[in-house]
C-alpha cells in the first residue's frame, strides 16, 4: 500500500487494492474512507447499501474473504489485498440468479429492496455452512439484519427455499 498526501488538503491518501467479485481494483482513498463508500462511490458498485453507518442494520454486508462483514465498519484501507464479494457478484456469469436471490423472488422476500443485498449476502454465507436449515436456523440466518418492510416472515421462508433450491441444483 503506497501513501501520499493530497496536494490540496494535505490529507494522507493511500492506494488500496481490492479484489471484488473476482476482479482486482486499485483506488486512491484517504485513510478514513469507509469500505462501503469505496465500493459504492469509488468502484461504483452501488448494490451494497448503507442504512445506518454504525453497523446495526446490515444493509452494507459484503463477504470479506468469504465471511460476511459490515462494510460500513471497515476502512477501505483495512481491506487492502483482500477478496470481497458484493451482491453484484452473486449471480452466475450467464445471469442466472443465485439460489438465495431466486428464493427471495419465489417467497416475496423483499419489498423496497434496500436491505435486500445485505440479507442475501448474509444468508448465502450462512447456507454454505448450514446447507440444511430448519425453521430455527432460518431465523438465525437472518437475525442480524434489519428490514422495515417485510416483517421478516418471507425472508425466513426464503432461507428454507434457498436451501431447497441449492440442493436441487447441487450448489
Amino acid at each position: 500500500m503506497t501513501t501520499a498526501d493530497d496536494p490540496a488538503s494535505g490529507e494522507q491518501t493511500l492506494v488500496v487494492r481490492l479484489r471484488v467479485n473476482g476482479m482486482w481494483h486499485e483506488v486512491r482513498v484517504p485513510g478514513r474512507r469507509l469500505l462501503s463508500d469505496a465500493l459504492r462511490h469509488d468502484l461504483r458498485l452501488t448494490g451494497t447499501h448503507v442504512g445506518c453507518e454504525h453497523g446495526v442494520c446490515g444493509a452494507c454486508t459484503v463477504l470479506l474473504d468469504g465471511e460476511p462483514v459490515r462494510s460500513c465498519l471497515l476502512l477501505a484501507a483495512s481491506a487492502d489485498g483482500h477478496e470481497l464479494t458484493t451482491v453484484e457478484g452473486l449471480a452466475e456469469p450467464d445471469g442466472t440468479l443465485h439460489p438465495v436471490q431466486q428464493a427471495f423472488v419465489d417467497c416475496h422476500g423483499l419489498q423496497c429492496g434496500f436491505c435486500t443485498p445485505g440479507f442475501v449476502m448474509t444468508i448465502a454465507a450462512y447456507l454454505r455452512e448450514n446447507p440444511d436449515p430448519d425453521e430455527d436456523d432460518a431465523l438465525a440466518a437472518c437475525a442480524g439484519n434489519l428490514c422495515r418492510c417485510t416483517g421478516y416472515q418471507n425472508i425466513k421462508a426464503a432461507v428454507l427455499r434457498a436451501a431447497e433450491l441449492s440442493r436441487g441444483t447441487g450448489r
Binding site: 465471511e67 460500513c72 471497515l74
Partner: protein, 307 residues
Amino acid sequence: MKPAPFTYHRPVELDAALDLLGRLRDAGQHAKVLAGGQSLLPMLSMRLAEPAHVVDINALAGLDGVDVDAAGVRVGALVRHRGLERHAGAGAVLPLLRQALRQVAHPTIRNRGTSVGSLCHADPAAELPAVLALLGGAVVARSRRGERRIQAPDFFLGPLESALEPDELAVATQFHRPPPGTGTAFVEVARRHGDYAVCGVAAAVTVDEAGRVRAARAAYVSAGEGIGALDLGAAVAGAGVDVAAWADAGELARGLVATESDIHASAQYRSQLVAVLTARALQDAAAQAGLDSTSHASALDPAQGAR
C-alpha cells in the same frame, strides 16, 4: 456520519507497531489501535472519537493464535470472536467463552470483532470483560518498554477505560481455567437479540465430589459502571447443588450490585434482573459443574453450553 481525517498506519512488524505507538505517544499524538473496529468505527463515523492516528494491527503476524493448555486459554489480539467461538479446544476447556461469545452482537459483527479488542474497549455493557473478570486472567501488554501482564482486576479502570498505556498494545489475553468441578453459565436479558444486554450474568459454580457447592461467583454485564466478579458463596456454599438456595444468592447479588437507570431500564428493574439472572445462571452453572465432576467427557462436548 463520516470519520474525521486521521493518518492511517498499517505496520507489518510488531516491533514497528510498538515503535510507532511509542513515537506517537512521545509526540503527544492521539492514536487509536484498530483491530476488529466494530466498536471503534461507529465512534469514528459519529465523530465521537477523532484520533489523529489510527494504527491498524491487522497486518501483524503471530497475533491470531488460540493456545489451550492446563492453565487456560490464551487468545491473540487478532483472534475474531467468531474464531474463538468456533475453537473446539477453547470451548472444551472454557465453555463460558462460547456461552458468552454467542451473546456478542450478531455473527456478522463477530466475524470481524476481536475478543482482545473487546476487553481493551472496557465497556461494562460488553460480555467479554465480565468473562475475564469472572475467570481471572491477564491482558498481555507490549510496548517498546517491554511486556507486562495486567491482571484482570487491575485492567478495568472504569467505563471505557483500561489500564493500557497509550504506547502499549494488548497482544493477547489469558483466561484462567477454573478448578475441576466448576461449571459456568452465561445468561442475559437484552431488549433485542444481539443488543447490548439490559443485564447479563456470567456465573461459575464449583462443586465438590459429594455434590456440594464449594464456590459460587458471578460477574455482571450492563449492571453498573464497574467490571468485576462477586463471591456469592455465602448464600450457597456447602449446600447440595439440587437444594442450594440460588434465589438467595440472587438476592445477595441484588444487594451488592449497584445498578443504574438508562433509557432501556430503571435501576430497580436492573436489580431485579441481577437477582433473577444470578439465580438462573448459578443454577445452570451448578448443573454444568455436576456434569464436570461426574463425567469428564461431557465437559469436552463442544455442544455443551449451547442455548
